[in-house]
């Protein structure tokens, strides 16, 4: 339970953390919940595989575990172990893990941008990531030849380059001498986003048969996720998350204005650059396979702030876990709600996100949570 600072200091020995215990327990609890959610949603899908069988298949993959899952009867016929493992391990699991990674990346990137700009409306797409990725993906779908680099197809490759390129242009445009004024950065991002989006829209009008694919990409979704995609996204997201989390305390101090942060010994311009690069990297690598999934980046950090407070040392890891859980659940809805059709997960996140956001706006009147 939360204690007042005075109570803590009246104790004979001053504990190392004030009111941190509840947040640490929350972190551990959410981490456990994430694992449970992953296991649970692996059992859901168009092929009804019983929970116990799914669990056995997952467990059998762990080192030092030696069990052979029992083959269940599906649609009146026994399912071979091979097909069972393919469905669970090669179709469902990578998709669920990618959803978790993308959710974590978007939530942390959103929290980072909100902190960096001290603006509650900032989201991971603020500086042109979305419009750049959208244009890149659209171009990739319209070019008449196929192109691939390593495991990357043309669409993710172009989307990634477009996202990074857009932010790089915004950064160069917004630079004033050695400094990077946040307001200029936001305005440059908004302006470039408008420009790139208009080009994408024009390309869509002349895209003909490709229009369907472009629209689905722009709405976001995790359709046929392969392990190779997980292995590409994982290191990028992990590296970015670590870089951001290391700078959680400077980010806290930067919630004062930049001048005060400097007076407290923070090298503001360097921290801004590191956070900007890391947040852009994790956002771009996350969405280049999945398309533009909205609202996770703006909604999750606010929800976490409301519940656990504004300290970025907890806000960032908590957002990561909540974002992962949220997108895994949203994607499970997207693929199971009306089989065999799939709803783009971006629609589900926005459908849940928009009402929540309106609720936040109502509630914010009496409560400073930012």
């Amino acid at each position: 339970m939360a204690r007042t600072v005075s109570e803590v200091f009246n104790e004979p020995a001053i504990p190392l953390a004030i009111r941190w215990h509840s947040r640490v327990y929350s972190l551990l609890g959410l981490a456990a919940l994430l694992v449970l959610v992953i296991v649970f949603v692996t059992t859901l899908g168009s092929v009804p595989i019983p929970f116990s069988t799914t669990f056995q298949v997952l467990i059998s993959q762990l080192p030092f575990v030696d069990i052979t899952p029992a083959s269940p009867e599906i649609f009146g016929a026994p399912l071979s172990l091979e097909i069972l493992e393919t469905i669970i391990l090669d179709i469902r699991l990578p998709r669920i893990l990618l959803a978790g990674l993308v959710g974590a990346a978007l939530a942390v990137a959103g929290a980072t941008y909100q902190g960096l700009f001290r603006n509650p409306l900032a989201d991971p797409y603020l500086l042109g990531v979305a419009s750049g990725a959208g244009l890149g993906a659209t171009i990739a779908m319209l070019i008449p030849f196929t192109l691939a680099w390593m495991a990357l197809g043309a669409v993710p490759l172009f989307a990634f380059i477009g996202a990074i390129g857009a932010v790089a242009v915004v950064y160069l445009l917004a630079r004033v001498g050695k400094t990077l004024p946040p307001t200029t950065l936001i305005l440059a991002g908004v302006a470039l986003s408008a420009l790139l989006t208009s080009i994408t829209s024009y390309l869509m009008t002349i895209s003909g048969a490709e229009l369907h694919g472009i629209v689905f990409w722009l709405l976001g979704g995790l359709y046929l996720t392969k392990w190779s995609e997980v292995w590409i996204v994982l290191p990028c997201v992990l590296a970015g998350l670590v870089a951001i989390w290391i700078h959680a305390r400077p980010l806290n101090v930067m919630q004062l204005d930049e001048e005060q942060a400097q007076q407290l010994g923070i090298n503001v311009e360097r921290v801004k650059l590191i956070l900007l690069v890391a947040a852009t990297l994790i956002t771009s690598s996350a969405i280049c396979f999945t398309g533009l999934i909205g609202f996770v980046g703006i909604l999750i950090p606010h929800a976490v702030r409301l519940i656990w407070g504004p300290d970025y040392r907890f806000l960032l890891p908590l957002s990561m876990l909540v974002g992962a859980i949220f997108l895994i659940l949203a994607d499970t809805l997207a693929r199971t709600i009306m089989p065999p059709t799939e709803i783009p997960v971006g629609i589900i996140t926005a459908l849940c996100g928009a009402p929540f956001f309106l609720y936040l706006l109502r509630r914010r009147k009496g409560l400073a949570f930012f």
Partner: protein, 263 residues
């Protein structure tokens, strides 16, 4: 001791302050006065290392601040800015604890010692009673004291204050400046304070520097420099200056309509 050696500084290659020199000593309050735009805030930003000098040197205990890393400077010099932005969702104690930032590495969390220092600073600034309140719920005077507590938590040798009493009522002005004065004496701090109010400056400063148009116009004790001719010359205001009825320090009086009697 802080020593300014012929410094010029400003913004975007345009100097606001030219060839200023002065010395501030531990246990003393140095007051910066002068009209709006005379360079008081700029000077404080220069000493805090927020803006670079065009020329000259700033020495703190004979070390040039240009050679210091930002966090090292923040361990020596703490700044209380003019109307600082504070994040409303943080508690008062969390904001005070941010004063430990320059003492902690990137990955180190505040330990018991850091918490104790912050708590001590809140004792000195009489802010313990609202330690758990969110900053958004605090009054202007309470916020100002929180920022002073944060500056103390840096355990600095020098404290720079830019108009710490702006926007405060007369009681809170006196409370803040009494606090600064006692901290200055007890902890042997070097205090440099920019003030608009000449009467407050006269009461609290040991030494004053009057700036005009980006240059040092005159420096000396309040008694020496707060004279009607100096104020007329620097501020363009017609005033009467009388000794304070209790401590004889110069007291500046204005007359409605701008006319003045004999002085």
């Amino acid at each position: 001791m802080i020593e300014l050696d012929n410094i010029s500084l400003g913004y975007n290659h345009q100097a606001v302050l030219h060839d200023a020199s002065m010395k501030a000593r531990p246990g003393q309050i140095l007051g910066l006065v002068g009209p709006n735009g005379s360079g008081k805030s700029t000077l404080i930003k220069g000493m805090a290392g927020v803006i670079d000098l065009f020329s000259g040197r700033i020495l703190i205990d004979d070390y040039d601040i240009k050679t210091m890393k930002r966090d090292k400077l923040a361990r020596i010099v703490a700044t209380v800015p003019q109307s600082p932005v504070l994040p409303g969702a943080f508690t008062a104690f969390e904001v005070v604890l941010m004063g430990r930032t320059p003492h902690l590495g990137l990955l180190r969390y505040e330990g018991g010692k850091d918490l104790a220092i912050a708590w001590q600073a809140m004792e000195a600034t009489h802010t313990r009673s609202f330690a758990d309140r969110r900053v958004s719920e605090l009054s202007g005077g309470e916020r100002q004291r929180i920022v002073i507590a944060r500056a103390l938590t840096q355990q600095p040798k020098a404290m720079l204050l830019d108009e710490p009493t702006a926007n405060l009522d007369i009681n809170h002005q006196v409370e803040i400046l009494n606090l600064v004065k006692s901290l200055c004496l007890e902890q042997s701090l070097t205090v440099i304070i920019a003030l608009h109010d000449l009467n407050l400056a006269a009461q609290y400063c040991d030494w004053m520097v009057m700036l005009n148009g980006g240059k040092v116009y005159i420096e000396g004790t309040p008694l020496d420099i707060l004279t009607a001719p100096n104020i007329k010359k620097v501020y363009g205001a017609e005033v009467c200056v009388y000794p304070h009825p209790i401590n004889k320090l110069p007291t500046t009086l204005i007359t409605a309509g701008g006319s003045h009697g004999t002085n």
